[in-house]
Symmetry: C2
Subunit: 200 residues, 2 copies
């Protein structure tokens, strides 16, 4: 099939199609949309891409993304620095912050151990977590990876490394989501909810 | 809710969210993805945005998008220049080209008349179409706008302008799509299929 689009438009479509969750049809739609944008707005967009990639880096302390030396959470004097919540991605931090109930700090792994996807412990920010705990002053590390095979395996692996350091390691509670119907709960969730039942 | 993301990341998320069909959650995912891209790839992406916006413009003849003076279709000596297919967007050209059956040229309106959305005839590339027909050598103009209220109204409006110029104006056939089940056809389509029935 001959392509009858202008070449720069084809190139831009291919660039959009490389982004996760964007197929060729959506990519073409986005590229056409860019054509209809003000030149100044396209300039702003391109600059935002470069700025984000070039000025954002990992927080020295918790590996969260930031454009400062420390991320806002690590910099906040009011946060409890002795409590670390270990998460997979910076997006998970946003989820915890939305609850407004967590006052500790975080550690971002930037992935989960997955031999099948060729992600090994050394590819994650595990070493900096161990180092942080080793420096002392940490009372508890909460493993807050997703309740999936990879999330559980990563939590178990890190837990083994942390326990010899004499720190308390905990895992998020798994059970029925609030508002769920027993009828529709999957077996594993229901089993977890039963196993972890609490006194009333 | 305080935002705990780095500012350049927030800015980039907002830029992605301005694109059609991308909500705040997808935009955040895309912005995080950009963080994990090679700096060189981000540079390529940003450059593709600027290139597309700055080098692509309307074809002098048919208003299709191109980075040359004429688009590939208008430049092709083998195409029948006396037959013009009027479409709403450049994407529609790609759809016709995929059939491999159309050998005429095109005219892109870049929109449809829609008083409710404040799109009036002067906002579309109608004047250049009339001028093109007025210059002579055109035998037939096929109105190939979508079979919607706005598509039909635009086709009817342009048809009224073209007929006094003595050119044949036609409209795409509407009926059952090939492979469709009668059972699931909507009434209007079925009515059109009945109305436009052909001898066997």
């Amino acid at each position: 099939m001959a392509n009858h689009d202008a070449l720069p438009l084809v190139v831009l479509t291919e660039q959009f199609a490389k982004l996760p969750g964007i197929g060729m049809k959506s990519a073409a739609r986005l590229a056409y949309h860019v054509m209809s944008m003000d030149a100044a707005d396209v300039q702003t967009f391109a600059q935002a891409l470069l700025n984000a990639r070039n000025t954002v880096h990992f927080c020295q302390c918790c590996e969260n993304l930031t454009d400062q030396a420390l991320c806002p959470v690590c910099e906040d004097a009011a946060r409890d620095k002795s409590l670390i919540c270990v998460v997979e991605t910076p997006k998970d931090i946003a989820a915890f912050e939305r609850t407004g109930e967590y006052n500790g700090v975080y550690h971002v792994l930037h992935g989960l151990i997955s031999p099948l996807k060729n992600v090994l412990p050394d590819d994650l920010k595990i070493r900096s977590l161990i180092e942080r705990v080793r420096q002392g002053g940490i009372k508890e590390v909460i493993m807050a990876t997703n309740p999936t095979v990879e999330g559980d395996a990563t939590a178990a692996y890190i837990s083994q490394l942390l326990k010899p350091l004499g720190v308390k390691v905990t895992r998020l509670a798994f059970g029925l989501p609030v508002g769920a119907m027993l009828e529709y709960a999957d077996e594993v969730t229901l089993y977890k909810a039963l196993e972890n039942r609490n006194a009333m």
